[in-house]
């Protein structure tokens, strides 16, 4: 059964506008917009703040050795780290604003930031 004959040209326009509106609403309403920066910290101080646009590698020195951080368009991750348990490496790619990988033993962290500041929790 064909349903196509039930639609009129303008219906497709409205459908398209609706789909665009839904698409736009995702970054607008979901947590602080899209990820656009990675903040790399060493000993709690900002080591580098990078736009998540280009492909880059960072080597950050810590008390245990060197932490390698990779930045790609829209995401960032800890590639290697001398920490014994490798928690920050196992976290993999970070791509949402507010996400953070902390390599505590080597005192390095990578955090994703968006347009607005987000909280990891709120209590009343």
């Amino acid at each position: 059964m064909s349903w196509l004959y039930l639609t009129r040209p303008g219906d497709w326009l409205i459908l398209l506008i609706g789909a665009v509106a839904v698409g736009v609403s995702v970054p607008v309403f979901w947590q602080g917009g899209l990820a656009d920066r990675a903040i790399i910290r060493q000993e709690g101080k900002v080591f580098a703040e990078v736009d998540l646009k280009a492909r880059k590698q960072f080597a950050v020195a810590g008390p245990l050795g060197t932490t390698l951080i990779a930045v790609e368009p829209g995401r960032a991750r800890v590639v290697s780290d001398p920490s014994p348990r490798q928690y920050c490496v196992k976290q993999g790619w970070l791509m949402r604003p507010g996400e953070i990988a902390i390599c505590a033993p080597n005192r390095v962290s990578v955090q994703i930031a968006g347009r607005t500041k987000v909280y990891d929790s709120i209590s009343y």
Binding site: W3, L6, G10, D11, L15, G18, A21, V28, F29, W30
Partner: protein, 181 residues
């Protein structure tokens, strides 16, 4: 028996509104029976009736049918004057206002599908605003907007297609209407 003093004259229009509202209430009950992953995401099948009524009998009748549906539906499902009732009322009011404007769009280009999608967006928009202002006074409510908007688009399109399909058939006369419903 004492003859009644008050004479209520029931016009053909009254009967029609009553029948159409019954159909809409029936679909509201079907709607409520369909499990939903998230409160607020519902097919809104009763809106098919609103669209058909709007096209066949005009905006005034559509308002009557919708108002009766919200009232009777909430009584039957037991949420009359509960928050859900006001959400339903706000959504319906906004979508009726939208339909009132949108029906003036050139019909050659914009059919029931357009009206249905616009009404669905207005419906969920009104509900979200009421929820933000009254029920959950925190912007966190709007986190659900993309989900609701996507549901409005999908169900609006489907309902619009069903309404268009019903409207493509010849209008039933009053007598067949009684038999068919």
């Amino acid at each position: 028996m004492t003859p009644s003093v008050i004479e209520l004259t029931v016009t053909a229009e009254d009967r029609r509104v009553a029948w159409l509202a019954t159909a809409a209430v029936g679909l509201s009950l079907v709607d409520a029976a369909i499990p939903s992953p998230l409160p607020g995401v519902k097919p809104g099948l009763a809106n098919i009736v609103t669209l058909v009524v709007l096209a066949r009998y005009g905006w005034g009748t559509a308002v009557w049918v919708s108002a009766l549906r919200v009232l009777a539906g909430s009584l039957l499902l037991g949420y009359f004057l509960a928050p859900g009732f006001f959400l339903s009322l706000t959504g319906t009011t906004l979508s009726l206002l939208t339909l009132g404007l949108a029906r003036h769009l050139p019909t050659r280009w914009f059919g029931p599908v357009s009206l249905s999608i616009l009404a669905a967006f207005a419906h969920i928009g009104g509900q979200l605003l009421l929820a933000r202002v009254w029920l959950i006074p925190h912007d966190g409510v709007f986190l659900l907007t993309p989900v609701f908007a996507a549901a409005a688009l999908v169900f609006g399109t489907i309902n619009g297609l069903i309404a268009a399909k019903l409207l493509a058939e010849p209008a039933p006369t009053e007598a067949t209407e009684l038999v068919r419903r």
